[in-house]
């Protein structure tokens, strides 16, 4: 009967060894496994050959107990703890049977079947525990595999998402660059619209500079003649005229100078320096530029310009070229609207664009009104959106009002609003705080 304890040791070692198959623990414990396997076989064969049955039982039970105690101490065998513990009954029953067999031989012989059943039952119990452990381990393995699959899946998805995020980031960078370029090209486009107006605006003062210079030279000749005649009174009168002319030359020279400076400011990428600005002067300047710009492009176009400038308005801290661009955009839109209506309505219609400024509740309100086509209700909410345009492809970028909105609202803490009625006209209000 001693064989069962040795058999149990043998099976235990084989099973543990088998489950370590793909683990580094296999290499670590291999010598011990081999030793214990051979020792259990050798010990059994030897004991069976030379020792009595009782001693073999005690030796088997003791060996099993020793293996159990040793295995329990090792953390590497923790996963098998419960099944190893299941060997206690077999070790106990074997030891007990051996002791009883030696010290009460007769008693043992009378009841030997009980001892045999007990040992068999204890052995079968260990086998049963191994069987259930195998199932549990199989389930555990399955779960582990599932976990690994899920981990891999998660890793794959994460990699995919990271890749997508990188791609989106690249797209976003590209879009931001494109947006900057579009803003720049919108500025250039409005500069193009300005150029004709600017050319007209510069030509006039230049003509005056040339004319007043020429006439002054003639006057000097005349003055010399008068002086030669001795008519100092007339000479003085001519001198006064020359002085007046020089004043005109300076005035018109400065006028051209200011226009060129304004043009440079307009094309500059962005300076963002706010300075106290006379809004009436700025608005008037851009109104003229916008009007002459359009006139230069389309000679048949004409509109009445009405200005109602509020008197005594304080200077407003602003980036003049930015607000200038906003106003230019509003004027251009107004002219576009009246022109569109003029084409439809014909001679009876009189296009009027009105520019007004006034002070209201700590702010200055600039209003640009036209009696043009007006904005249909369904698109009124969209006019400030980027890329929204009602103009034919190629004529408008759709960025004018959206950039104006950014400049006024984000750049100057102001507001930009629109009132419009289809076929009656539109009025845009730009409100800028005085502080």
């Amino acid at each position: 009967m001693g064989i069962f304890s040795f058999l149990a040791i043998f099976i235990m070692v084989r099973r543990v060894q088998a489950s370590f198959k793909f683990s580094p623990l296999r290499a670590k414990w291999m010598p011990q496994f081999t030793t214990v396997t051979w020792m259990s076989i050798g010990l059994y064969v030897l004991a069976q050959a030379i020792l009595k049955e009782g001693i073999v039982l005690i030796l088997g039970g003791g060996s099993l107990l020793a293996v159990i105690l040793l295995a329990e101490k090792e953390p590497d065998f923790n996963p098998f703890n419960s099944v190893i513990k299941a060997h206690y009954p077999l070790a106990g029953v074997s030891l007990l049977s051996g002791i009883v067999l030696i010290i009460a031989h007769k008693f043992y012989n009378d009841y030997d079947q009980f001892f045999i059943y007990a040992i068999l039952a204890a052995f079968v119990w260990t086998l049963a525990r191994w069987a259930t452990t195998k199932k549990e381990r199989a389930e555990l393995n399955f779960v582990t595999q599932q976990n690994q699959m899920l981990d891999k899946l998660v890793a794959d998805r994460t990699a995919e998402l990271t890749k997508q995020k990188d791609e989106l980031q690249q797209t976003l960078d590209l879009l931001q660059t494109t947006q900057q370029q579009l803003i720049q090209s919108e500025k250039l486009a409005s500069l193009g619209e300005l150029t004709a107006g600017i050319a007209h605006e510069i030509q006039n003062p230049l003509n005056f500079v040339n004319n007043f210079s020429e006439v002054s030279m003639e006057l000097i000749d005349e003055m010399e003649e008068e002086l030669a005649k001795g008519d100092t009174e007339e000479a003085n009168a001519i001198a006064a005229d020359i002085k007046q002319n020089l004043g005109k030359i300076i005035h018109h020279g400065k006028r051209a100078d200011a226009i060129v400076k304004g043009m440079l400011q307009h094309s500059r990428a962005s300076s963002n320096t706010k300075e106290p600005t006379d809004i009436n002067k700025l608005a008037d300047e851009y109104l003229r530029l916008a009007y002459h710009g359009l006139r230069a492009k389309d000679k048949t176009f004409n509109a009445e310009l009405v200005t109602n400038f509020g008197e005594g308005l304080p200077l407003i801290n602003m980036v003049p070229q930015d607000i200038g661009r906003v106003l230019l955009n509003l004027f251009n839109n107004a002219f576009y609207a009246v022109h569109a209506r003029q084409v439809e309505a014909g001679v009876e219609y009189k296009p009027v664009v009105t520019l007004s400024t006034h002070q209201k509740n700590g702010s200055i309100v600039i209003s640009v009104a036209d009696n043009g086509t007006g904005i249909p209700g369904e698109v009124k909410d969209k006019v400030m959106q980027p890329f929204f345009t009602t103009k034919p492809t190629g004529e408008g970028t759709g960025l004018g009002l959206s950039l104006s909105y950014d400049i006024v609202v984000k750049g100057h803490n102001g507001a930009i609003e629109v009132q419009s009625k289809e076929d009656e006209g539109s009025e845009f209000f730009v409100t800028l705080p005085i502080i």
Partner: protein, 129 residues
């Protein structure tokens, strides 16, 4: 005998310029200049001084009523005697010239004005009279 000329231009400094450019002629009483800053103002002036004005020099590009519109009104309202109308424009383009001729302009000049040429034209029209 002096010739009354109405100059219509939205640039105010056109007035001292003309007065100086034609100072000899004004002094000698050959020419008498009046000025208007817009087409509307010019029509008001003509309404009051129609019989005196012989010659009108008008800019085309003005806010409000354009020179072309002014010309059309003059040709419509004042048949006898028809004043001489000379158009001036900064945009020396064919369309403006064509329109001006169609509406009955006697002459078409481009800015910057050549005052010697302008004088020649003025004399030629006066002699025609």
């Amino acid at each position: 005998m002096h010739t009354k000329i109405l100059v219509v231009d939205d640039e105010a400094d056109v007035q001292p310029l003309f007065i100086q450019r034609f100072r000899r002629e004004i002094k000698s009483g050959e020419f008498d200049f009046s000025f208007a800053l817009s087409g509307e103002e010019a029509l008001n002036f003509l309404h009051d001084h129609h019989s005196e004005v012989v010659l009108i020099l008008s800019d085309i590009n003005m806010p409000g009523m354009t020179g072309i519109e002014l010309l059309a009104r003059i040709r419509h309202d004042y048949e006898k005697p028809p004043p001489v109308v000379m158009m001036i424009t900064a945009y020396g383009d064919d369309e403006n010239r064509h329109q001006a001729q169609e509406k009955g302009a006697n002459e078409f000049l481009t800015k910057p004005l050549d005052f010697n040429l302008l004088k020649e034209k003025l004399y030629s029209f006066i002699q025609h009279d």
